[in-house]
Amino acid sequence: MEAVIAISIGVLFGSGVWLVLRPRTFQVITGLLLISYAVNLFIFIMGRLWLDRPPLTLEDGLVDGLVDAGLYADPLPQALVLTAIVIGFATTALYLVVMIGSRGLTGTDHVDGKESSK
């Protein structure tokens, strides 16, 4: 389980880095999306892996009305990642608009606004 998710994060991140280094704007936006999955997962696993332990402290699961913290997944990375996902959407939108705006202004989809001389 741990190995699977660690390898997957690496594959996602590596694919993203490869794409971010490409010269076309669409490649870069795809790369950023992949990197953001990898990073979100990475932050998420800082709370370690938990199966069937969602952080819902429902009243019928409590012992004497007290919460046993050891029975639930870590909620903090989850909350951080949740906001990160939404912000990721916003930055993607911003990037996309800059991308198509730059394409209209410069006539090319190269990240530098002009085709490289090489």
Binding site: S8, V11, G31, Y37, L56, T92, R103
Partner: protein, 967 residues
């Protein structure tokens, strides 16, 4: 309190003046005059308290943690300077009312002038060194704005820049010097610093401190070698020159030297630096002044020379010299301000300031001419005028300092006297002879009140010159006492001291000056010489400009050398550092044995085989097959979402799924504007060798980044979580104190709601930015016509409008289906929202679901149909959401709790029964509204680009007309 009002009132006045209409010349002048008069009366009122030798103080805590207090302190010296600033300020305001043309934007002028007045008062009244430097820099800034007032003129802009560069650099030196001084003395309070003169002078840091503070004072007072900025500052309107560049701001430097005289003076270093700079300035300024052709240029150099005189006096270091310095400061301000105003009147009335053209103005302006002649006589040091008295004191001091053997100083003083008589003669020469006929305007006497300030100041020159002891004796004495304290010498302010050496020197200077001037006119052809003899090679201005030029070109070449505007090299560098730096910083991670990997789920592994394949496929396809790449990225997103669900994070899974949907729609909307790209293989092209090298390098970076990330993740996962983290706090308190059992949601809307508030603000800002950027969007010419796929004549849908496609075309079935689903989707959104506090859901998920429901309708029926049936003002949603969230936070204040404290109320409703209603609920509603508004605003703004008629980039071919609306 009165002291504080002295500084506050000008700044408040400045703000009010800035808000007045552009043509309110009279109201502006009344306001500014009123401010100055108020200050003047307050200062007069405070005389009673400062007169006894005690300082008036105001004290307020400012940064107590750093031992800094806001302190105001008015002693005799500060009182005298405050009177000077306010008195001349009032006269300048009256003068400026008539001087400024109705076409000039006066609100700006008076606003800057009042701000300057406030800053200058701040300098003289500061009781704290740091505070003094802050006001000091404020005077530099306001002076910059005033010199550049006529910013359409290149010389004004350049003069302003030069003045600001020199004085502000000096100000920075001063700041460092003051920090050193405060460190040595142990406090920044002026009282402490003044009392610790002996400690300071013995300290090893004395010399650097002195040099830095001197740099500040000498740049401000235009002393050699920094004097060159002052003549260029004459591009300012004349009232500004009269106020800032003769009477007040340039006196800030000498004021500082007087202020710190008890602490810093009395050493050989002090005398060498201060008196040396002063002596050079005095001679150079006086000599150069003779050869100016511009009235204001002459006055500027003469100001430099007189400031040099004051500096020399302070540098000499004897108590009597200080008396002379303070006295001359006062005298110089009166006659020089009046001369500047007279020059301004001449300029205003005749249209030129060129002394080569001006002739015989006495015939046209008899009153003004008389006044100017008297003031020039004071400047030249003619007896029975104030300039004579202080200059004679100066002569007496130079005799003392050299003793019987060394006459160098006295010779320099006589030389300066000769030069100043010569340039005074040059100045008044414009009044004599026949009236020049070729002037741009026919000169007349100015309005009554424009002349009044000059009259008043000249009267002061006369009164002080005739009866010095009676008129200024006590004021001067107070100022001297506050600087010298017990060292204050006995002195006599009489006009007649009997026949003695100083008198002889005065006579020599007068006679010599007249002779020198006559000789110059007869032999040297003064009128037609373009440059200053002997000294024209020493051009401070050129040195300044070439330094600035070299600085800029060095910066530019460094920039080309060290940086690039291309994105790819920057990203490569960033990624390499991302991989390399952690490896360099930490010891290599020990990857524990694989055995600790826990249970293995083939299903989960299979899931991620798909996820990784999608990611690699996306990386492979992103260049030539964008749609495929986008779908593959979406596949990875779905796998990520399922992983969240698998690993006990239902909230994340929901959010990821919804964000995945809107992101895909978003990018699909953008794809339309990107150029078509065909793989080289299909065109039978081969990639060049350099491209392969680059790709191999990038592949190496990508693989090492991936490997590093995997290793790091694995290393974290096989270690148990360290106990004692903060997560347990949230888990145990969420239900009892946050009132909700979904800990993630309680975290977002309660424990960390401030964070969430920031986040929704970012979301709102991004949405508005996207909207604003798209308003200016210009598509590339070839993306404007509809795509080939939609223009296919075989496809029956190509001939239909979106509305027809939905009503009777190929979208008929989905449309019936999705319109039916629309209310159900809204109910689901509401359901997620309402249960969010206790079960997976909440504002984010609900908002995204709601937005998806709307977007689906847009996609199906087209923009026009949705917008005729549904009025969605997404900007109002955003506004409502932010207001609701902020109001929840502020509401806590109303009950005396910190910002965003939540409270849970229990309400019993009929039928529904008891429900608990936390204030976080309102906050979550705000989150919901912002998410809905921002998402819809972004997507709809992007979708609208296809609908609106595009303005093409200039020079491009218009698209072929299709006559069809595009969805």
């Amino acid at each position: 309190m009165l002291l504080l009002s002295l500084i506050l009132v000008p700044f408040v006045g400045s703000a009010i003046a800035a808000l007045m209409p552009a043509n309110a010349r009279n109201r502006e002048a009344w306001l500014a005059g009123g401010v100055a008069l108020f200050g003047l009366l307050t200062t007069l009122f405070l005389y009673a308290q400062t007169g006894s030798g005690e300082a008036v103080r105001f004290h307020a805590t400012w940064l107590p943690g750093y031992g800094l207090d806001f302190m105001l302190r008015m002693d005799g010296l500060a009182w005298l300077f405050a009177m000077l600033i306010l008195g001349i300020g009032l006269l300048v305001v009256i003068y400026a009312r008539y001087y400024m043309s109705p076409a000039d934007p006066v609100p700006r002028f008076f606003s800057f002038l009042l701000a300057f007045m406030g800053s200058m008062l701040g300098v003289v009244l500061s009781g704290n060194l740091i505070q003094l430097v802050i006001f000091w820099e404020l005077t530099s800034v306001t002076s910059f704005l005033l010199i550049g007032y006529w910013h359409h003129r290149a010389d004004a802009r350049r003069g302003a820049r030069m003045a600001f560069t020199v004085t502000a650099t000096g100000g920075l030196c001063l700041l460092v010097g003051v920090l050193l001084l405060g460190h040595i003395a142990g406090s920044y309070s002026l009282d402490v610093v003044l009392a610790s003169g002996d400690v300071v002078r013995e300290h090893p840091w004395y010399l650097p401190t002195l040099v830095l503070i001197a740099l500040g004072a000498l740049t401000k007072s235009a002393q050699f070698p920094f004097h060159f900025w002052l003549p260029h500052a004459m591009a300012a309107p004349t009232p500004v020159s009269a106020f800032l560049h003769s009477a007040t701001m340039v006196k800030a430097g000498v004021f500082l030297l007087m202020r710190l005289w008890p602490t810093l003076s009395g050493t050989p270093e002090w005398t060498w630096i201060i008196a040396g700079a002063g002596l050079c300035t005095l001679l150079i300024g006086a000599f150069v002044a003779i050869f100016q052709h511009d009235l204001k240029g002459l006055l500027a150099y003469s100001t430099i020379s007189h400031l040099g005189l004051i500096t020399v006096l302070l540098g000499i270091g004897s108590p009597l010299a200080v008396v002379a310095a303070i006295f001359h400061t006062l005298n110089h301000a009166t006659f020089k301000a009046s001369l500047f105003m007279a020059a301004g009147i001449i300029d205003h009335e005749s249209g030129t300031r060129d002394m080569r053209k001006l002739r015989g103005l006495y015939r046209a302006l008899p009153y003004t001419a008389t006044l100017a002649i008297v003031a020039s006589a004071a400047m030249a040091g003619v007896p029975l005028l104030n300039g004579f008295l202080s200059k004679e004191m100066f002569f007496a001091e130079t005799l003392l300092v050299g003793g019987p053997e060394n006459w160098g100083m006295s010779l320099a003083a006589i030389l300066m006297g000769i030069f100043s008589v010569a340039y005074s003669l040059r100045f008044i020469h414009v009044f004599f002879g026949p009236l020049a006929a070729d002037l741009p305007k026919a000169p007349h006497e100015p309005p009554r009140w424009m002349r009044f300030p000059v009259e008043f100041l000249v009267l002061c020159c006369l009164v002080v010159g005739v009866a010095p002891g009676w008129s200024v004796g006590r004021l001067l004495n107070n100022a001297v006492l506050s600087v010298l304290g017990a060292q204050a010498p006995e002195y006599d302010l009489a006009v007649w001291h009997g026949f003695n050496l100083p008198l002889l020197m005065s006579v020599l200077a007068l006679v010599g000056g007249v002779t020198f001037y006559t000789l110059l006119r007869r032999r040297y052809d003064l009128i037609h010489s373009d440059r200053v003899p002997l000294l024209h090679r020493f051009n401070g201005k050129e040195a300044y400009e070439s330094t600035m030029l070299r600085l800029t070109s060095t910066a530019a070449s460094l920039e080309t050398l060290l940086s690039t505007r291309r994105l790819q090299p920057q990203l490569v560098l960033m990624m390499v550092l991302l991989v390399a730096v952690p490896l360099l910083l930490v010891r290599p991670l020990s990857l524990l044995a694989f055995s600790s990997g826990g249970e293995f789920s083939p299903l989960f592994a299979g899931l991620w085989v798909i996820g990784c394949a999608c990611a690699i496929g996306a990386a492979w396809q992103a260049k030539y097959h964008r749609l495929a790449a986008l779908s593959l990225v979406g596949g990875t997103g779905i796998v990520t979402s399922m992983t969240f669900l698998w690993l006990s994070a239902p909230d994340l899974a929901l959010t990821q799924l919804m964000v995945e949907t809107v992101t895909t729609v978003l990018i699909l909307l953008g794809l339309r504007w990107l150029p078509a790209r065909i793989a080289p293989r299909e065109l039978n092209l081969r990639a060049p060798r350099s491209a392969w090298v680059r790709r191999s390098r990038d592949m190496a970076i990508a693989v090492s980044a991936g490997l590093g990330m995997s290793a790091l993740s694995y290393a974290v996962l096989v270690r148990p979580a360290s106990p004692g983290g903060i997560s347990d706090f949230f888990l145990t308190r969420a239900l009892s104190e946050g009132g909700g059992s979904n800990v993630v949601n309680v975290l977002l809307v309660d424990f960390r709601s401030f964070d969430t508030l920031g986040e929704i603000a970012v979301l709102a800002i991004v949405a508005l930015t996207v909207y604003a950027l798209l308003r200016r969007f210009r598509p590339a010419p070839e993306s404007v016509p509809i795509p080939a796929q939609q223009a296919n004549s075989v496809d029956p849908a190509a001939g239909q409008t979106p509305a027809q496609q939905v009503e009777s075309g190929y979208l008929q079935v989905p449309s019936v289906y999705l319109r039916l689903l629309f209310p159900i989707m809204l109910v689901i959104a509401a359901y997620f929202f309402l249960r969010g506090h206790n079960l997976p859901g909440g504002g984010f998920v609900a908002g995204l679901t709601f937005a998806v429901a709307i977007i689906v309708q847009y996609m199906l029926a087209g923009t026009a149909w949705v917008e005729t049936h549904l009025r969605l003002q997404s900007n109002r949603w955003i506004a409502f959401g932010l207001i609701a969230a902020c109001a929840t936070g502020l509401g806590a204040w109303a009950f005396g709790h910190p910002f965003l404290t939540s409270h849970t109320a229990h309400v019993t409703l009929p039928l529904v029964g008891e429900i608990h209603l936390p204030s976080a609920f309102v906050f979550d509603l705000g989150v919901f509204a912002v998410v809905v508004g921002a998402t819809i605003l972004i997507l709809v703004a992007l979708a609208h680009q296809s609908v609106r008629s595009h303005r093409l980039p200039a020079g491009s071919v218009p698209p072929r007309a299709t006559g069809k609306e595009i969805k």
